[in-house]
């Protein structure tokens, strides 16, 4: 990457070079960042792209040239990421965003479909959240503990019956949370072939905008059919309950699609990548196996250390000063949760997996009004699924070299594509 002053817009006072260098900033102008870094070092499956750490060290909030030419920002420091995510002057509306990944330079992003509230601001966003947060409270999710335990036990039994040498993603990490979100929403798990592939396309950064549009359409039309069925014949589940609110069928289909999409593969990737990380840190794994009380803190630390959902994108609705820098109305900011969660200013020795550390305060579920709606469900699932797996198979280990585990690169949700494991049969 070269610095080319001739192609720059005129310098404004918020350019890093235009004010006195601080301890954080180098005295020479940093090379321009022209896309969100995604390339990880080979052999380092758990660490964020090294370039992100270098950029954070240089400046936790800096300018970034977007692939479409937009002169926006990149936030990598924990404090800056939290401040911007919590600030309602930054909008989540899709149509205002510039995307930090190449491939979308020519497209105009349409506004959020009815019900797809993750791309909305208050008060529209608030209306949906208030209808839903009561369903995802800490207490309600804990009531699901027994069902999660049953599901994990069933799948562990099936694994034992199948015998050593299998893919942990397919046998365990994917089906447990997928079945859970389906039951919660009232989506027949047997229908999964009608939506799993399309949901995967929504998160795949290699899919173009047409493919994503078609995938969203397919998920939405599937859910729409389901909503009609629930209206005609309500069952005991979230979608049926929501037919009793003032949401239209279109809005319900949007909400259902968002929840199905957000819940299907997120926890799955945390369970699989979490198992991989534990198998690669035997002393940490032994601690978790020995101390059932460690499950809660261990899950928070794994969330911090692995941060599978990254980044978020927001656009300033007015001029806002953050960290002494002026972000102007219309500027897009890309916020990296994985960089923030490895910020040494917030987490000492951030690159060390330490299940005993106080990882609370991480931003793996985001921050602010859009902070993950499903986080309490995800916590319950991970706190049960990971220890249960380790207890059931005391000799669990990778069946391939760590470097041979296929990773989910170029995906909005990081993780492993498969995790070949084995164990000693007793």
């Amino acid at each position: 990457m070269t610095h080319e002053p001739t192609t720059h817009e005129p310098k404004t006072h918020d350019e890093p070079t235009a004010h006195e260098p601080t301890a954080h900033e180098p005295t020479t102008a940093p090379a321009e960042v022209t896309a969100f870094p995604t390339a990880r070092h080979t052999g380092c499956p758990f660490d964020p792209p090294a370039e992100l750490a270098a950029l954070r060290e240089e400046s936790p909030l800096r300018r970034m040239r977007y692939p479409d030419g937009h002169h926006g920002w990149l936030a990598t420091g924990h404090a800056a990421v939290r401040a911007i995510m919590a600030d309602p002057r930054f909008s989540a509306r899709y149509e205002l965003l510039h995307l930090p990944m190449p491939g979308f330079e020519e497209v105009e992003i349409p506004p959020a479909a009815p019900g797809d509230f993750t791309g909305m601001d208050a008060p529209g966003h608030t209306r949906y959240r208030r209808l839903l947060t009561g369903r995802f409270t800490v207490r309600r999710m804990r009531l699901l503990t027994e069902r999660v335990e049953e599901l994990t036990a069933e799948h562990l039994d099936a694994m034992a019956a199948q015998g050593p040498g299998l893919d942990l993603v397919e046998a365990y990490a994917h089906p447990v949370p997928a079945q859970m979100i389906c039951e919660l929403l009232g989506v027949p798990y047997a229908d999964r072939k009608q939506f799993t592939g399309h949901v995967a396309t929504l998160f795949d950064q290699r899919a173009d905008i047409e493919a994503k549009g078609a995938a969203y359409g397919a998920v939405e039309s599937y859910v729409k059919g389901l909503v009609a069925a629930k209206r005609a014949e309500p069952t005991d589940d979230l979608l049926s309950d929501l037919t009793g609110t003032d949401l239209t069928d279109e809005e319900l289909a949007g909400v259902g699609s968002l929840l199905l999409g957000a819940g299907l593969d997120t926890t799955a990737n945390m369970i699989a990548l979490g198992a991989f990380a534990l198998l690669s840190h035997p002393e940490q794994l032994a601690a978790l196996r020995a101390e059932p009380g460690l499950a809660g803190p261990a899950v928070e630390e794994l969330l911090r250390y692995l941060t599978v959902a990254d980044p978020a994108v927001r656009t300033a609705l007015e001029d806002v000063e953050v960290d002494g820098r002026l972000i102007r109305a219309g500027d897009t900011v890309t916020l990296s949760f994985q960089a923030a969660n490895r910020d040494p200013a917030r987490f000492p020795g951030p690159d060390r997996l330490d299940l005993r550390r106080a990882a609370t305060g991480h931003v793996a579920f985001g921050h602010g009004a859009h902070q993950c709606l499903g986080q309490q469900l995800a916590r319950v699932e991970m706190q049960i699924a990971l220890p249960a797996l380790l207890r059931r198979f005391p000799t669990l280990r990778l069946a391939v070299e760590p470097s041979e585990v296929p990773l989910r690169e170029q995906n909005n949700i990081y993780g492993v594509r498969s995790l070949p494991v084995t164990w000693d049969q007793t």
């Binding site: 947060t133 369903r135 409270t137 800490v138 902070q371």
Partner: protein, 64 residues
């Protein structure tokens, strides 16, 4: 220490109820914060302070 909560700001994410269950709860209907006690006792204060720090919506305030 006196705690205040702003239910208009609350995002219902439940970090408070998770972090300091003796001080905060969530409404059964809309998931928004419910204050169980505005004046936490000795053993509850550290958790209440932590909850205020992690609340994603800055909906919890701490007074003297």
């Amino acid at each position: 220490m006196e705690i205040g909560v702003d239910r208009e700001r609350c995002a219902g994410a439940g970090m408070c109820a998770l972090t300091a269950p003796e001080v905060f709860d969530q409404d059964e209907e809309d998931g928004r914060v419910r204050l169980l006690t505005a004046r936490p006792v000795d053993g509850q204060r550290a958790a209440a302070r932590l909850a205020a720090g992690v609340c994603p919506a800055a909906a919890i305030t701490l007074g003297d």
